[in-house]
Subunit: 94 residues, 4 copies
């Protein structure tokens, strides 16, 4: 734990490091928000072109679920293989 008291005086090394981390996070959150706004804009554009955004959202959600489910399938396969001692790279190879 960093009760390092490295903060000799004000603005120690830890403080600088912390400031840097915070700023990186803030920059990333800003970019994340930009993407969210862009997505919102695309939906607005779609709506203004006569598309049903509810349907579109459903489509996007469904396609996301499909890929998520595929991931799950792979995860559970791995788990089975491990449970059966047949993991690909588990070192255990009878």
């Amino acid at each position: 734990m960093a009760e390092t008291t490295d903060t000799r005086g004000t603005g120690g090394v830890a403080a600088d490091q912390l400031r840097s981390l915070i700023e990186r996070i803030e920059r990333l959150e800003e970019e994340k928000k930009e993407r969210a706004d862009d997505i919102r804009d695309v939906y607005l554009e779609a709506k203004s072109n006569g598309f049903d955004t509810a349907v579109m959202r459903q489509v996007v959600k469904l396609r996301k679920q499909d890929s998520a489910e595929r991931q799950e399938q792979e995860a559970i396969l791995d788990l089975y293989l491990h449970a059966l001692g047949m993991a690909p790279d588990a070192g255990e190879r009878a």
Copy 2:
């Protein structure tokens, strides 16, 4: 001590009603927690019988996803039908 303390005057009836609502919620939350505890117990029982609970949780999750996806499929079908003005009982259009 359950006399009509505050029930006279303004807000009395509302107070009784509120109390009733709160108690119903609390009872339901209690029951919900009981179920959660039961689930936890089943997993513990499974583990004590040599089953891999991680695999089990994954299985449960996957089966839940399957049914959720089926629901989504139906939802999107409904949306399409609506978007095409072919909804089962909704011929009304603004």
Copy 3:
């Protein structure tokens, strides 16, 4: 130790046991969800009667905290009683 590698062959005992456990879990989760839905309904009913559900949720939370503290007090009391050899029922509990 229970040997669950009984899964060799077609539908071993372990497989049946696993299926049973999974189904119990799913039933319990279903019931848990029903309670959650009921709670939601009560809040909706409250809202339709003019109550502020945010305030209600706060109340429920506070009362839960209170009860938690009370239980903690009881736990401490039990501890003392045990330490004094005055526990109501020693040990056996299902």
Copy 4:
């Protein structure tokens, strides 16, 4: 005929447009997720360097609030300036 996937007569153009919109959305959501993952990574890095991430999240939140308040102040100022016919054409934002 250059556009083979264009099923004219059955909303082909719209279909292409819809596909394009969906793909733009999915790409943006992907990028959004990348940023979220990056943020998560920075917090992990911070933690591995001994920082308390809960505190850091609090700091980020507070700074976001501060900036929101500052922007509100600027908005009010703009409003006043407009009301006075003194709105700047293109103001620089720090």
